[in-house]
Symmetry: C3
């Protein structure tokens, strides 16, 4: 059996790195440009109540605790869009950008945000700098949702390949 056996036991391993983060998104509402961290690139285009087609580009602060005003330890740069007719549901692709004395580097992430589920898993598909070539899972949970213009996610990042 080769070293590259196709059935590996990584699933039951502990992550090589594991940390929790909070992600804050403040959508531009026409008047909050100073505070906004994201903006609609396209409006909903399929009729209905759940924003199907609305696409948002973001540069969102990431904090260690759930306080919006805590010092950001990273930024999440990317996009999401809503894509369901009968419920809220989204799709994300983004980069966590770390640039502090503790961590320098990026983590690249993509996946479906199945908002009807309490937790949802994205794929960590790569990384750079301190996170060189990493892979893993980012589990998210909606921590709060305040109207249409602020939401906060709790992100639990488990890296299973570290180099």
């Amino acid at each position: 059996q080769s070293v590259l056996a196709s059935q590996k036991s990584l699933r039951h391993r502990k992550p090589c790195k594991h940390f929790e983060l909070y992600y804050h998104d403040i959508l531009f509402n026409g008047t909050n440009a100073a505070n906004a961290t994201s903006t609609k690139v396209a409006n909903q285009s399929l009729p209905g109540n759940f924003n199907f087609g609305m696409l948002v580009v973001f540069n969102d602060p990431i904090t260690k605790d759930n306080h919006l005003l805590s010092p950001p330890i990273a930024r999440a740069q990317g996009l999401f869009f809503y894509n369901k007719k009968d419920d809220y549901n989204a799709w994300f692709a983004f980069t966590l950008v770390f640039n502090s004395s503790q961590h320098k580097g990026t983590i690249n992430i993509m996946g479906a945000d199945l908002m009807a589920e309490e937790t949802r898993d994205f794929s960590v598909v790569g990384g750079t700098g301190d996170f060189f070539m990493t892979r893993g899972i980012a589990t998210i949970r909606t921590d709060t949702l305040q109207g249409a213009y602020y939401f906060r996610l709790k992100m639990d990042i488990k890296l299973y390949e570290c180099y």
Copy 2:
């Protein structure tokens, strides 16, 4: 020679998982909201005949056979856009979302849809749940194209890393 030899022989291995799927896309045309599974987020913006710049967001049913009305075994959630001046050509990023008694989890995919080729290869860049950390190749083929509002792809998914 290290375990992580840079030249590995995965290429000639059999996939650890292999399955075929059909992907159905019904574009919103202004009057078919009940049936539509995708919607234009941006219209073509570069003049010409091949939709360069048209961007579509989708939540498309995935079936085991080529019948649109077969029970979906997954959804494909993501986006594509056209990006060629002198022919149809697209770029895709999406997540296959499985939520059945047989499979729970997601597969994350991206790549260029070189529509002039009979088959095109996307990268499977990650997975979650039953597809934890998977990687591989998704080969697609246009199965049918019915005007501007319905197309069907045959997807041949070969996973070479399974955990």
Copy 3:
């Protein structure tokens, strides 16, 4: 210690493949359709000077040297958008498509383009054909910037997993 030790020494290895490329982007300005290789899909939507929210779809020629008119050895197909309020900063996802006698296949890339840094690292998250299942790092550097409608990047691609 398992074969899949979570701390691996890939970081200090030499890449299994290493090459430099130049990426040329000519944005459609309303009158240059014949030469343009990219087009705005959405205009800036957050007020300010740095195009936050502007999203561009591209099919850009890749050359071996820095001459725009050198024969392309590949195309870069994908999207980028600007996402910062107080400086230029972008996010990219794209596929390098090789179709020559030398190379056939694709390389899939995503990451944050931290334009304030002299060099920025993207993740190579997968590949097909000659680049089957590859992973690595693409380091970019702005080689030139000519007004709002032409820029050139130097890309240094280091692949650390080759199959």
